[in-house]
Amino acid sequence: MTDVVLRTERLFKNFGALKATNNVSLDLRKGEIHALIGPNGAGKSTLIQQITGHLASDSGTVCLMDEDLISVGPAERARKGLGRTFQISSLAMEHTVLQNAVLGALGQRGNVMSFFKPVMKDAQLVSAAKAALAQVGLAEFAATRTADLSHGQRRQLEVAVALTLKPKAFLMDEPMAGLGLEGAQQMIGLLTDLRKEAPILLIEHDMDAVFALADRISVLVYGEVIATGTPEEIKVNPEIRRAYLGDEVPA
C-alpha cells in the first residue's frame, strides 16, 4: 500500500440525529482521480470538509502519507499538503487574480510574517503564481479584480490557487459546476494532466465528466460508502443503479 497518498478510516460525523458521515473509509492513490458521487445531501461536501479539517470529525482518522492529521486544524492540513477547491468559490474578491495566486504561493512557502518587502515584487512568488495561472488559462486576467471574473473563471482560479500550494493531494468540490460545455472540456483536460502531479479526490455531479476522468469511483449514500470500484464496475453494479443512478437528477 505504499502508493496510498490520502486515507480516511472509519470517519463519523453526526448533526443531531442525522448521520452525515457514517463510517467512511476510503483512500486516494498516487496518480489517480478518485471520484466521489452520490445524490444531493449524501454528505459529500461534509466529508471533504472533514478531510480538510474545516469541520471537526466525531471520530475516525485522516492520514496523509501515513501521517495522522485528525488532531490538527485546516491551516495545518493545507501546509501538510492538502490542496482544496470549493463548491462555492472562496476567494479574496477585492484582490486581483494574481494576488490570490500569490497568496497561495505564499502559503506554500510558509513565512507570512514578512512586513517590509513588497510581496508583489517577490520574483519567486510571482513567477510561481503566474505559472499556475497560465496552467489554468488565466494568464491574461492576472491584473483583473477577482470580483470582476466570470463564474467559470473563478473556478479556474480556485484550481490555480490550489496548484500554487504544490499539494500532495487535491480535494476538489464540484470544479465543473456552472462552467458550460467549453469550460468543462477545458477543466477536464486540465485535471487529466493534473493527476500526475498529485492525485485528486473529486466530487462532481456531471456524470459524463466523472466517467471520463475517474480511475476509481466511490458512491456515497446517506453518509455511507456503498461501493468503490472502477467506472466499469460501478456502471454495472445493480445496487448502485437502483440506489442512485436510476433516479439521477442533474445538478
Binding site: 479574496a92 484582490h95 502559503g107 506554500q108 513588497p118
Partner: protein, 327 residues
C-alpha cells in the same frame, strides 16, 4: 499617478502648511490644533491596520491610547519628583526623554494588545466589538479607582518632555516631531500593506476560509495586526499626553474609542490616508462648530450621519471614486 495619491499629498501639504502659516500669522494655537490633528491621525493610522485592513472593529482602542498616555504620565511624574518607580528587585527610574517614553508606551500597549487580542480574537463580528469594549471599560474603571496616579483627576506634567536636539516647548518644533512620526507611521503602514503579511491579513478579512485553505492561520495574522495596531495607537497616546502635558482616564473612555473610529470612517476605511484626512476634518469641525452654538453636537451628529449614509468610502472615497487602495 492615481487621484488618491494626489489627495493624499494634498492632505499632508495642508497639515504641514497650516502650522507654517500659523507661525507667520502669529496664531500659535493653530499649531496646537494641527498637532492635535496629527496625533489623532496617528492613533487612527494605528487602528486602521486592525479595522481597515484586518476588518477588526475594535471599540476598545482607547485602552491603548490611554496606556500610551499613562506610560508618559507615570514615567514623567516620577522623573519630575525624583522618585524611582520601583527599587526592588531592580531600580527603575522615571524619565523625561521622549524616545524612552515612546518605547515604553509602545511596548506596554503591544503587550496589553497581545493579551486582549489573544482572548478577543476567539470571537468575531459584533461579539468582537463588544468584547473589546468590555476590556476597554475594565481598564477605564481600573484607572479611575486606582489612586496611585491620580485616579479620575489624572496626572499633570509641568514641563513637556524632551527630545535630543529640539526644544519641544516651541509649538512648531513639537508639531514637527509629531508630523515626522506620523509620516514614518504612514510609510510603515504602506509597507505593511504591500507586504506578504498585508496581503494575507487583507485576504483574511475578505475570506477567512481561503486563508485557512492555503495553510495560514487568520488568528495569528489578526493577532499580529492587533498588536502592531495597539502599539501605534499607544505611541499616539504618549504624544497626546505630552501635547496636553496631562493624562487622565478620559483617554481610556469608550467615547474616545468611538472618536478614533470616526476619524477613520470620515476619511475612508482601509485607505492609507483615511485617518489623516478624517482627523483633520474632525478637528476643523470641532473647532468651527463649537463656536457656532452651544448645541453643536446636533450638527456634528447630523454631519456624521450624512457621511455614513451618503458618502460610502468616506471623504477619500467620495473624491477618488472607487479606485481601491490595493494594487
Amino acid at each position: 499617478m492615481k487621484r488618491e495619491t494626489w489627495i493624499n499629498g494634498a492632505a499632508l501639504a495642508v497639515l504641514l502648511g497650516v502650522p507654517l502659516w500659523a507661525v507667520m500669522a502669529d496664531e500659535p494655537f493653530i499649531i496646537t490644533l494641527a498637532t492635535r490633528a496629527a496625533i489623532f491621525a496617528l492613533a487612527g493610522v494605528g487602528l486602521n491596520l486592525a479595522l481597515g485592513t484586518g476588518g477588526l472593529v475594535s471599540l476598545g482602542h482607547a485602552a491603548f491610547f490611554g496606556i500610551g498616555g499613562y506610560a508618559m504620565g507615570i514615567l514623567a511624574s516620577h522623573a519630575q519628583s525624583y522618585a524611582p518607580i520601583m527599587e526592588a528587585p531592580f531600580l527603575i527610574e522615571g524619565t523625561k526623554s521622549m524616545p524612552v517614553i515612546w518605547l515604553v508606551a509602545m511596548v506596554t500597549s503591544a503587550l496589553v494588545a497581545l493579551v486582549i487580542g489573544m482572548l478577543s480574537l476567539r470571537t468575531s463580528g459584533v461579539y468582537f466589538i463588544m468584547i473589546t469594549l468590555a476590556f476597554g471599560q475594565m481598564i477605564y474603571y481600573f484607572a479611575i479607582s486606582w489612586p496611585a496616579y491620580g485616579g479620575e483627576d489624572g496626572l499633570s506634567i509641568y514641563v513637556r518632555n524632551g527630545f535630543p536636539g529640539l526644544n519641544t516647548l516651541v509649538p512648531l518644533q513639537f508639531f514637527g516631531l509629531c508630523f515626522a512620526i506620523l509620516c514614518l507611521a504612514l510609510v510603515l503602514m504602506n509597507a505593511i500593506h504591500k507586504s506578504a503579511f498585508g496581503l494575507a491579513l487583507s485576504a483574511a478579512r475578505q475570506n477567512e476560509t481561503r486563508v485557512l485553505s492555503v495553510g495560514m492561520k487568520p488568528y495569528h495574522l489578526r493577532l499580529v495586526a492587533f498588536v502592531i495596531s495597539g502599539a501605534v495607537t499607544g505611541l499616539a497616546g504618549a504624544l497626546f499626553a505630552d501635547l496636553n502635558r496631562f493624562v487622565s482616564p478620559t483617554m481610556l473612555s469608550w467615547q474616545m474609542s468611538g472618536e478614533i473610529i470616526i476619524f477613520i470612517i470620515i476619511g475612508g476605511v482601509g485607505r492609507l490616508f483615511g485617518p489623516v484626512i478624517g482627523a483633520m476634518i474632525f478637528i476643523l469641525l470641532e473647532h468651527t462648530l463649537g463656536g457656532l452654538s452651544e448645541f453643536w453636537h446636533v450638527y456634528l451628529g447630523a454631519l456624521l450621519l450624512g457621511i455614513v449614509l451618503f458618502a460610502k468610502g468616506g471623504v477619500i472615497g467620495a473624491l477618488a471614486g472607487r479606485e481601491k487602495a490595493h494594487d
